[in-house]
Symmetry: C2
Subunit: 79 residues, 2 copies
């Protein structure tokens, strides 16, 4: 078994209201110095070693990501 | 400015219905070999270099994580 991490983040040109809400809350709570926050998703998959990188890309692209508004990265975690 | 990544994942003992739904969907779509999926959140923060690690821990713990059900990790991304 291998641990695979898929990170899905909104594209740079997409507004991220959740992230902006966090920036606003940080200011109100007295945390200065945070210029921008973007919120995305992190998936941790436990996969058989037989699952190929191609399959992982397809899983990430077809099922986990809305490719119109999000980018994804797939990485196999070091054991 | 520095890029900081905060990963927030459900604790191991917490049920993750979103992740289980993905496991089920993968099976129906014909992707074999994925034993488990857990879904969490990824935050990318742009912070001034003056913001301390202590502040970042407090931001992650107090604002970004529900520590009853979630764990978090803070990492400064390599430039």
């Amino acid at each position: 078994m291998a641990r695979v991490v898929v990170d899905v983040m909104p594209k740079a040109e997409i507004l991220d209201p959740q992230g902006q809400a966090i920036v606003g809350a940080l200011g109100r709570l007295g945390f200065a110095g945070v210029a921008d926050v973007r919120q995305g998703k992190r998936f941790e998959l436990e996969v058989d070693d037989a699952v190929s990188d191609t399959d992982l890309e397809r899983i990430a692209e077809d099922l986990l990501t809305n490719t119109v508004i999000e980018n994804f990265t797939v990485s196999r975690a070091a054991e």
